[in-house]
Symmetry: C2
């Protein structure tokens, strides 16, 4: 098998199209069912069966999974969790929760294959730190989900759960599709440029890219050491936060980062005094319908009494917009230079063993030198300083998560314009899928300051509540 | 197979004892032969054959290797390198150099088994960043070398090349034994506490633990993120530096660290104005004969005109000695807490799948909390500040690498007292095996300030030259 040229989309995908509305989505929350799990009016086992039914029905169209855990194993584990809930002794808020794991993240029991032929059938023989934490809390890994090749190259077969002609976004394609499509309550992905926030928006999943380092990346196959983040996906904000905090409490951040500090339960909604609205490069790519949806959301937020600060007449925000418009090339420099390893060692295994995108990045790195890399590092640090300087003026930032709904494409998984800047900023950012455009999901991006993840969760909750109440 | 209880030493080890002297050692330098490789009076192929003969003769006693590369593959590669040297076009100073790789470090062609049954037969399907760099420069990986279990647990079968009743030290046991014993010119190991400097001293190899982050650790199976260092071993200081700089130039540090800055060739010897002599906790464990050997070396250095500063009458050095005497418990806290992953996921694979030392560390972590870990991080940072404050008084530090020659043991691989503090300091440190005690190797430790690796290499060279000239 070869990774070159770009593999085409499978021809046997069953067409499917489903209307999305923020208050009528396919996503299947788990955490809000806790009291029903306790009182027996619902059960973890029944929840699992609903997921498995959805998978059975939708997977011929969605193709979210690379490999699935044996259903008997899952049912036995769900039965045990069902009993714990009814005995009032669940291991945690996620005990028995079906979760999916991007195929870049190591699991003991399932192979980790990274959508590249070198790793066909490869087993890591360990769980990633995040998977270890979630399993320890009782979560059930129901399968490994499609990634683009090494989280940056060729697309896999996964399709958007709302329209099989459209991409789910990348690189966490399968996780976004599975969580957005009601196949699992929570999922793990990664974000090095845009790989969590973009697919979450396309698939109608809630998502978080936490502060850099605040969630342990051990066992996530590395691309870079300074941009790689764990990405979290939830069927609801409550599911998203519960899975996130299980990781934070049980294993924490990548040492010496202590991990996200905050309550185990989703923080109460907090109405910010002010938010900064950012357009970024993405605005020029954004359709009228998408702009209108975002403007309507901004209006709602403003009418609720939040001061919206934007570039108009504000030289500090205008300066930040100018900086942000100019990050895309140096962000590629950071990725290309840092990913010389491991991409070099993959390329060395054969002339057609990695796809064209990986080869492009290696070629870019070969045209660079250490000074150019150092300049990229310096520019990222300057951006971080510039963002932090706004922290006394507004509690967060409001922007789009994507330049529109999922595109009708396969090889291209969408623009990185909106999510990428906050990867560089290293602050937390939530995808909050409270808009619909062309009956497809679209998420706002609620972004914040580094190490203030829990504060931002409270703001994201408030934004969601506002949007849903008035939807 | 199980990792528990501690596996005994193999019963079929062929006894062997060889007298060591600093100027008459088993080590087999490669880099100093460059002109002979060029003019044809020697060849890389002939060098390889000498290594293979040594392995054939000594391996029944030394047991340095877990797995060896096929000799035909090595001979073909050595022949190609031989031709390149004779054509005046070697790929680098290490073209055709036989090297060994600790079995904690990933290699495409050979399994990475970590002396634990979980990883029996496991292949990483990639080269570690350091291995990729060395191979790209023409080095030949002749085999994977014995490590203690996951670089901290049960001893493997490797024995000291000078006395098969003695340990080679751990955890980089096989790399130290192979390089010290003349089986390879250069080798990769790791150091998280003491795993490079200690075995280098026991086996008569030169070694470097570079500044933290200054050599890319990608593909080194992680124990911790803040203590893990690559460890380098060389048959001579010239070999050590050549291999080190190949890694530094070709892949650099763990991003964003640019990597060791310095010349490709070993820097000229530099006589420091002053060195600080440190005793540390190790001194109380050190025998009279070892103390005498070290005092003699210090005397030589002093008589050559270097000011020796020590704790006597110097309150700043005395304060540092007191800090250093107290690092051992918090260093274990750092290791235990950070290694919850991956050790937790190994333990989860079966009740007897990890050895007692790993279980002890997991138990220690379970008795800790985040506040205790944060205190350990704080103390390490304070130590680093305290050491740095001496940089205007002396260009480096002189101490022992081990509390004596290799001990007659198997399960215990020796005291970590001397090497551990500089792991915490995060500065570079060289093992310079210029002493003999009981006809066994003993290394001085030449330690320096963070990011000044090349300056320290020049001092280590001067110390070596002084010691050897007057030996």
């Amino acid at each position: 098998m070869e990774a070159w040229p770009v593999p085409p989309l499978p021809t046997d995908i069953v067409p499917r199209k489903i209307r999305y509305a923020p208050d009528d989505s396919l996503a299947r929350p788990f955490v809000p069912l806790a009291s029903a799990f306790r009182d027996g009016s619902d059960s973890v086992r029944a929840y699992l069966e609903r997921c498995l039914e959805t998978i059975e029905a939708a997977e011929p169209s969605v193709r979210a999974f690379v490999v699935r855990q044996d259903a008997k194993v899952l049912r036995d584990a769900a039965d045990a969790a069902t009993t714990r809930w009814r005995d009032g002794k669940p291991l945690s808020a996620v005990d028995g929760m079906p979760i999916v794991v991007k195929d870049m993240i190591e699991t003991i029991d399932l192979p980790t294959q990274m959508n590249n032929p070198i790793f066909t059938g490869w087993h890591a023989r360990r769980d990633a730190a995040s998977v270890m934490a979630l399993r320890g809390a009782g979560a059930l890994v129901i399968g490994k989900t499609v990634t683009t090749e090494f989280a940056v190259g060729n697309s896999g077969p996964a399709r958007n759960p709302y329209d099989s002609n459209r991409t789910p976004g990348g690189s966490s394609s399968g996780t976004a599709a599975a969580v957005g499509g009601g196949m699992a309550a929570f999922g793990l992905g990664t974000q090095t440029h845009a790989s969590t926030i973009r697919p979450a928006s396309y698939c109608g999943a809630y998502a978080l890219k936490a502060s850099f380092g605040a969630l342990h990346v051990g066992g996530v196959t590395p691309l870079t050491t300074t941009l790689d983040h764990l990405g979290l996906f939830g069927a609801s904000l409550e599911d998203l936060w519960a899975g996130t905090m299980v990781i934070a409490r049980r294993i924490g951040g990548t040492p010496p980062h202590p991990g996200i500090q905050g309550p185990i339960g989703l923080p109460d909604a907090h109405k910010p005094k002010a938010l900064i609205r950012l357009d970024m490069q993405g605005w020029s790519e954004t359709s009228e319908a998408t702009r209108a949806a975002f403007e309507a959301l901004v209006d709602k937020v403003a009418k609720a009494g939040v001061k919206i600060i934007d570039r108009r007449g504000d030289s500090q925000v205008e300066a930040l917009e100018q900086t942000l418009a100019d990050v895309y090339e140096f962000a590629l420099d950071l990725l290309a230079w840092e990913a010389r390893w491991p991409f070099g060692t993959y390329r060395d295994q054969g002339p057609r063993m990695v796809g064209p995108r990986i080869l492009d990045l290696l070629a870019r790195a070969e045209a660079m030198d250490g000074a150019r890399y150092a300049e990229a590092v310096r520019r990222r640090e300057a951006l971080q300083t510039q963002v932090h300087a706004l922290s006394d003026r507004a509690e967060g930032f409001l922007t789009l998560s994507a330049s529109g709904p999922a595109i009708e494409d396969h090889a291209f998984t969408g623009s990185r314009s909106y999510p990428l800047p906050w990867t560089l900023v290293a602050g937390p950012t939530f995808a909050v899928p409270v808009m619909a455009v062309e009956d497809l999901p679209l998420a706002a991006q609620v972004a914040g300051y580094r190490e203030r993840d829990a504060e931002l969760a409270a703001i994201a909750r408030w934004v969601r509540d506002q949007a849903m109440a008035q939807a």
